[in-house]
Subunit: 351 residues, 5 copies
């Protein structure tokens, strides 16, 4: 959060990059398409960018990878008349997912999520989408192609995507990110199931720290997904002129997916809590078993050791010591005492 | 969830079967009826299907068993003008229960549930219902006849069902599935009561894993039932032209049932949590008892053993060793010490 | 729940008794009254019943005790034009409390509750009320006169009840049932207070099963009271023509009572949870005390016993054994060691 | 609750006193004032009361202390046309706080609260306020002057209170009661802080019962304050003709206070729960420490005692017994064994 | 809270300072600006203040540091026609954050927060803002310049702030306070991470009191932040004439920040709860380990010590004592017994 703090004191709408620089050079992938035509360009120098605002019929998609270049973001802002607060949010990776309607465009903030099974760590990448009639720009932190599947569909020229405008494209981009959440969820479920097995079979005692860490990571996930759910709900109900009626049913479908993922996060939390309770029970149960063995053996030997001590005393007059068979009689008595105790404990089902 | 993941990257509305194939051959049970007439056919080859769209007065019910044949689903889609997202949802067993209104028909997704008492496992089957004026199609994963009771009522020709149209039939089908939830609930209640008895009577210590697993299964149940409740609520309030006013009171009644089932799931969760707490208390209580016995016996014998050790020392001058009755006096003293401790512990109610 | 299951497969609106038969013979207590006149009859054979539908000015109250006779219920249904779903609900004791408006009458389902202090068990009886202009019918499982206080008020001829119609009578009946909830609550509170005392004073260790069972019974209560609260809320806001404006303030008052009872149930739950936590703490606290005593005595005697053992060894050359006062010196040393430990433990406040 | 139960069976609106009589003689403090004039009288016999209904411009305040005299309450009811349900509520100390609008006046029920630090007990007194244009009556259980500060402000003749009518007076009365809640809260906070210190410093082990009892008392508080919050919310939004627009902002301010108090109650609950958890942790932590000492000392002496026992055996041929320095060598070995264990435990950080 | 209590009994709207005096002398920083001009003055004596109400076009900002001088607050009240309840709230540091609309101005109450890492203590300062067309006054407890960043932006003359009026300034002030919450949050997160590490690595056992105290401080934070969130929500939706449409989007952005901070507080609570659970598990886990070592060593030596005691008895006839190798045979048997036990425990994975 420390870069976030550098920002404090600056005026609202100041564009400050609050993350760590993850790419050397910003890369801008540009696509212009309508139902018939398709142009594709890649700029790796922002001075090269030419903004073609000739037609609202086309979709102009600027896919910006790397957000540390605040000049570039401001350059977009000036050319497309984007609100200052949007520009600020694009560069600020700590802002929470949301959907905002502005006079001149709609803005969506969300996070691409992943899960590193080895480190038990959620990875996240800040993604911003701004669109209005004919223009759409997406911003992400790294150069990995998050929207490859979307681009493939556009290139193939089949399907709805080429004929439905920027709002459908925005939907498709979010949909591809949310689809990836399912992979993240599955990875987490694998880890939970593994932990469950280890706890149930009592193989592995290092589970408790893992459960604890996984619960913390779920908190991180929840902070990314819960506000996205609200954002998509607002997107689906938006009466902005940039969201067409015919695409609304798709966004509603997407909303259903975010609910399902959020429910899954909650049920993972419940499962981990259950697992932790079980783990603690297992530990105290095992201790109980060991304690019972100690009890048994101690309690059996303590009176016998006392008896042995008794006849080890050096009093001059202890009559039993003189009897010839006293030793064997005492051994017999000791055996009987031990047996009585064993039988008593067995009956009490103490072992 | 792994098949779900194969789907990622495909365009919204792509029909991909995400489950495991559960029937060899898809079977389509077709019924056409109105108040007077009734026709019944079975197709086991989808090329045989003839779609009769002559009249909206009849009810045409296509009961499809087996959803792995995505061609067939698309074939339905084309012939009856069903939205792409509906077709996708029919084949995707991971989608959550919901009710959606489309321009040309209503769509309901739900799950048929069962409970395997031996494995303590909830079984579920994906069921999809699509209907509009005169046409209704249902889709399920296996060939088991889930709607037998509904079909029997249609065949008998008595009652409301023959005269009330597709919305009432859709209601009747959902009602028959929800009725089965009560059986599932009763099975779970049996298991909980059995566990309760075992924990209370302290007979069985394997209960904790069972409670843990049952709690996990209740999470699965909740994820199927909670969204269904919302779906039925939306169905009952639907102002779609395909839902007639006179049938609304039945759907509201059904809504009451889903609330009751959901409440039952929640109360089972509470009961299992209570049971788990009780179990842990029982374990620590039992350990306590055993510990107290150990304490008692140890604490009684420890000073006596010390005394015996004392007079087992080999000092040349220990005056007591010479007295003739010293041994018996010591035995008496030991007895008195033991008695004092027993009385003290009794008074303290420690055993 | 098993009788409930027999019902599965039957058409909605089929009248099936799902409880256990609790009376031999159905008894119908009939009252007809207006402000001036009062007629009272008892039928014990349903063929005797004559339905007098001459006037809407009178109140005609049929108080039916015993609901196993489904023919009788259907007979009412035909004569008074009652909806099939109402008839089904009258005979189905598993349905949850609710208020439903039908075109031709209003329907209220609720439960009369009791609490058996000895068995720690909530008892419940299914009560159904159906009324429209001038006609009201009540149904209950047993022949006990649940509404005696209401009848007394009608007979006395004083007060509002004779002049206010069926909606006020329905209110008065529900009010008398809800009043009885207070008695149930008081019985439960007595038991909780008793348990609280036992746990606090540590007298009784059988408390934990009682707390567990009581918590389960509160779940049963909640499942009866929570939906009733919603039902009364809907009753109080009903714009049915059968509910007069002037009586609404009474129903709102009743609604306040159901909120209070529900709050009480919730606070009992909190109290029982608190009690359970306290109980567990008490148990571990007591164990702690006993453990500390063990620690103390063991730790004091262990080094002394070692010393005694040391001088019980049979080495030929142990110089101390020859000194005349060695025994007494050793005794002194032992005493000093014991005292040091006692003082140390006292200081550490370990006993 | 037992007097509450005596009421069961009586008609709604029957005035029955359900509390314990707390004053010998009912005392009625009467004030009549407008901006200029002020009359004050005290009646201690209800036949003396003269009801002056001449003017709506004045405020006529009847402050009734003692509510066991149901005749008096009914006398008020007849003279001022008060609804039967209001009269019932005035005498029934078990009713929950609420705000009700009637055609002819508004009614507020609340509780004056206190906290007895010594007994850790919340005390409460039932207060009822009924007002319409020009007339206001307040009812309380005891003769303590709850509204002294309000009366002082009226007498002083300064400020808003003399010119603002009955609704402002009702507000001022409730405000003075709610102000007292802050004192109650502060007393509870003192006790919690004291308990916190005791638990943290581990001085006092009787804390657990106190925490438990305090939690129960917070439940009592919550049941008084939560419904009052709702009542004040309704008061502030009331569109009754008896509540003037200009006074609404004061009632809204009061509403803010009830929210704050309710939040405080909730945070006290959280603090007590945290304290209880800490207490339990402390107990098990302390036990752990003691257990570790036992472990240490036992484990060090057990092998030494065994060695001593070994050379205390009476075998005829034990070669070591003959060596001259064997005793001292053994002592050295014992010392080395003890040291190794001490070092090992130190390294493991076990003490 | 004790000064709060002194207030009880005074009329609503009485200005009483309820905090501790934190500055010797009240200092008033005055700024008057519009887009072009800027005047700045500092008064340290309230008689010096001249209220310039000539123009609504300018922004007149009175930044008052020190609120113990109630005369000054009343002086403001009279000169700017501020409602009595606002004046009361300015001086009462115990009031919760809120937004209130009055006829003649809007009022916002909030708290500036800090976190002292060493003492683990949240510090807070009461801040009040009142504004209408052209006039804005801010009040704070200490003389620290909380709004320095805002003032810097005004002085620099760039940006929106000089041209947007009092509502934007109010927004900017709140924004600068909320920005500081992020620093507070980061400090807390640092402490939590440190605690997490200590608990996970098991280094430090003093963690439990820290976790407990930190949870209490989070309660304090929540009581400041949760109502602020509601207040900002109301501010953003205000239809007051003093809040301009064009500034609303900034306030909505600010609302997003308060949600995020509140979510962060909640997730910290969850993390601390998780940490506490982990800590307790760790403690019982460690105790378990130590207990197991005790068990092991005790259970191995107890039978050996018994055997040694057996042959230390002084019976005249114990045949084994005469055999020459008996001693060595016994040693061998003892070794074998010990080994068997060690192997058994190893196999059971008890150490």
């Amino acid at each position: 959060m420390s870069k976030r703090i550098k920002k404090i004191g600056s005026a609202p709408g100041t564009v400050i990059f609050t993350g760590d620089k993850k790419v050397e050079k910003v890369l801008i992938h540009y696509m212009q398409y309508d139902f018939k035509t398709l142009t594709e360009k890649v700029f790796d120098n922002h001075t090269e960018i030419t903004f073609d605002k000739s037609s609202d019929k086309n979709v102009d998609w600027y896919d910006v990878r790397g957000i540390h270049d605040t000049k570039l973001i401001e350059y977009f802002g000036e050319n497309f008349d984007i609100h200052k607060l949007v520009l600020e949010a694009i560069a600020d990776i700590h802002q929470r997912p949301r959907f905002d309607e502005y006079d001149k465009g709609n803005f969506i903030l969300l996070r691409s999520l992943g899960f590193d099974k080895a480190k038990l760590e959620v990875t996240r990448e800040h993604v911003a989408i701004y669109f209005n009639q004919g223009f759409i720009a997406t911003f992400q932190e790294t150069e990995s192609d998050l929207f490859e599947t979307v681009r493939t569909r556009i290139n193939s020229g089949k399907g709805r995507i080429r004929s439905r405008g920027t709002d459908y494209l925005a939907y498709a981009i979010i949909d591809s990110i949310v689809d990836n959440y399912y992979i993240t969820m599955e990875s987490i479920e694998d880890v939970i199931e593994e932990l469950d097995e280890q706890v149930t079979l009592n193989q592995n005692f290092s589970g408790k720290t893992k459960i604890h860490n996984l619960k913390k990571e779920l908190l991180v996930l929840r902070k990314s997904i819960a506000p996205l759910r609200e954002a998509i709900a607002r997107f689906s109900k938006s009466d902005s002129s940039f969201v067409k009626e015919e695409n609304r049913i798709f966004i509603r479908d997407l909303y259903g997916n975010t609910i399902q993922i959020m429910d899954t996060v909650e049920s993972y939390r419940d499962m981990l809590n259950g697992l932790q309770d079980l783990f603690i029970t297992e530990v105290s149960f095992k201790m109980n078993k060991v304690m019972q063995l100690l009890t048994l053996i101690s309690v059996i030997f303590i009176p016998l050791t006392f008896l042995a001590g008794l006849y080890g005393m050096n009093f001059e007059y202890i009559p039993e010591l003189k009897y010839e068979n006293a030793y064997f009689i005492l051994l017999g008595i000791m055996f009987i005492i031990a047996m009585i105790m064993v039988v008593y404990f067995k009956r009490k089902k103490w072992f």
